[in-house]
């Protein structure tokens, strides 16, 4: 399998006044296509910085970042916006759905910025909503949906753009355990269909649903190991999918 994500000596330095903070100190890892990975670490470990870099929301201070074989670490703002639009599907802890739009319209949003026509957007968004089992809620607004449903809409939005990788930031952090499990089950299913998924979390239970855990501490990788089968959590089929 080719690598979807590859970072070489990835560094990120912030300047706070006269002090330089080394948030990331030379990371090296690669994520092959179809893998489901968890990135773990305590707060201050550089987790969020890494997420921002992997998500092309930020540029590395040094080192290289290849996404889908293309180096993206030196691109302009607008070029990075296009990379985010086409190659990355974000799933946020607090869903970040727009309250004035229906579920379907929220899912369509990335496709609007890709310049798709209305019919094409509808088709893709309908398919994505079907994949998360929310076809019957497509005309509901976010506030009319439960937290778990909102997060599934969020996942559908990430899927709609057919990205190279899905980047999830504490996707179950705001959910009760049942809804959280539903979302993890959804990820497992997407993984099963060949999607590359990166979950950033501090929750080991969540991380144990993946096949590989990268631990960060003080801006460095402290361990990068596959999750042994014996410890792997697996969930049954999602109800009603």
């Amino acid at each position: 399998m080719p690598d979807v994500i590859r970072v070489e000596n990835l560094r990120r330095t912030y300047r706070m006044g006269d002090v330089e903070v080394n948030a990331l100190r030379g990371l090296e890892f690669a994520i092959p296509e179809g893998q489901m990975v968890a990135i773990m670490g305590p707060s201050g470990s550089g987790k969020s910085t890494l997420l921002n870099l992997l998500g092309c929301l930020d540029r590395p201070s040094a080192g290289r970042y290849f996404l889908g074989g293309e180096e993206v670490g030196r691109k302009s703002d607008d070029a990075l916006a296009d990379v985010r639009n086409r190659r990355i599907g974000f799933v946020f802890q607090n869903y970040n759905l727009l309250p004035q739009l229906t579920a379907l319209e929220n899912v369509e949003l990335p496709l609007v910025y890709r310049g798709f026509g209305r019919a094409q957007r509808h088709k893709r968004a309908e398919d994505a909503l079907a994949a998360v089992g929310l076809s019957d809620r497509r005309h509901h607004r976010p506030l009319e949906l439960s937290g778990g449903q909102q997060q599934r809409v969020g996942v559908a939005r990430a899927l709609a753009g057919e990205p190279d990788v899905i980047l999830a930031d504490e996707p179950t952090g705001n959910l009760d355990s049942q809804s959280g499990e539903d979302v993890l089950r959804l990820f497992a299913q997407l993984h099963g269909s060949g999607r590359t998924i990166v979950i950033v979390t501090h929750d080991e239970e969540v991380a144990l649903h993946t096949e590989r855990i990268i631990h960060l501490r003080d801006g460095q990788v402290t361990s990068d190991e596959p999750v042994p089968e014996s410890r792997r959590r697996s969930l049954g089929e999602v109800q009603g999918l």
Binding site: G55, D58, A81, R84, F92, L98, Q100
Partner: protein, 389 residues
Amino acid sequence: MIGESVRMAWRSLMLGKLRAFLTMLGIIIGVGAVIALISIGQAATGSVTSQIQALGSNLITVTPLRGAGAVLYYPQDVTWLKQVVPQISADAPLMTGSVVSVYGSQNYSTTLMGTTPASLKIQGRSLAAGRYLIASDITYRRAVAVLGQTVVEQLFGVRSPIGQTITVNGTPLTVIGTLKSAGGGFGANQDDVILTPITTAEEILGTNQISSMIAGARSGAVAPLAVAQIEAVMTARFQNQNAAMVVSQDQILSTLSTITSTLTMMLGGIAGISLLVGGIGIMNIMLVTVAERTREIGLRKAIGARRGAILTQFLVESGILSLFGGAIGALLGSLGASIMATALGWSGGVDSSSIVLALAFSLVVGIVFGMWPAMRASRLDPIEALRQG
């Protein structure tokens, strides 16, 4: 993409209808005021113009310039003027003086104007009743008078004055006719006058000087030529540069039009300031909106909106606000202007060009004042923006 922006902007505005309306209110009032004031100004200009035109468009007035060494005119100058200036078809003397007129127990201070039969047509007046002065009235110094409507009202009220005798500075005069009202004019009230034969006025006022001469140009086209000609011959006759101030009706008209259109523009400009204030209101609200929707902006950027897309989105929002406000304002302004025009009896509706101008201006206001907030939105760092809220 722009259609999509309009749709999105509309959805966002519909989230806060009251706020959107209040924001538009500034533009509504601004555009409404501009349109109403400009329309009313134009209607007033039209009204003044038509009143002056009614006075006879070929009227030329010849007055000696006041001051030291001022020349004096006598009735024979009138006869002479018509002979030497071929561009005028008729002329008449005006001998004016303040008098007290008495009828029964009523008395009223007014202006006596001694003149000749030609003056009626030159001034574009017409009779309400009776007859005007005729040549023999002049020749025989008849004690007769033609009254303007103001004098009729003051001395006679609703009674008919024809055939009655009034006393003017002690001289009894028989009323032979009344003039139709010239309408509310500018400057002197054209209806507050008693006309008598020039010869009779000489006796009452005890002088044989005349105050001014009026002449009718043969046509509007030759009026400027007649003015120049009169100036030349008067200067030559009196050997004095200040012998005559010669003014044609056209000149008065264009002077007045200049004044009224300047006033109209000034009113429009003052109203335009309120449009500016409305624009600042839009900027204010858009800044608040951008601050409130920081997360939304962050999300849109995260899922791939370029700077330009965010800029467009917020510009379209402020553009919609101002354009809608402008449209409502134009509607209300036109309505106000036509109600006003109807109430004052002026003709003329709202100029479509001023509506187009006001709409275009309000759109420009929206985009100009929306630019800064939109730039702020487009420059937000998505990481910072997503962290908020």
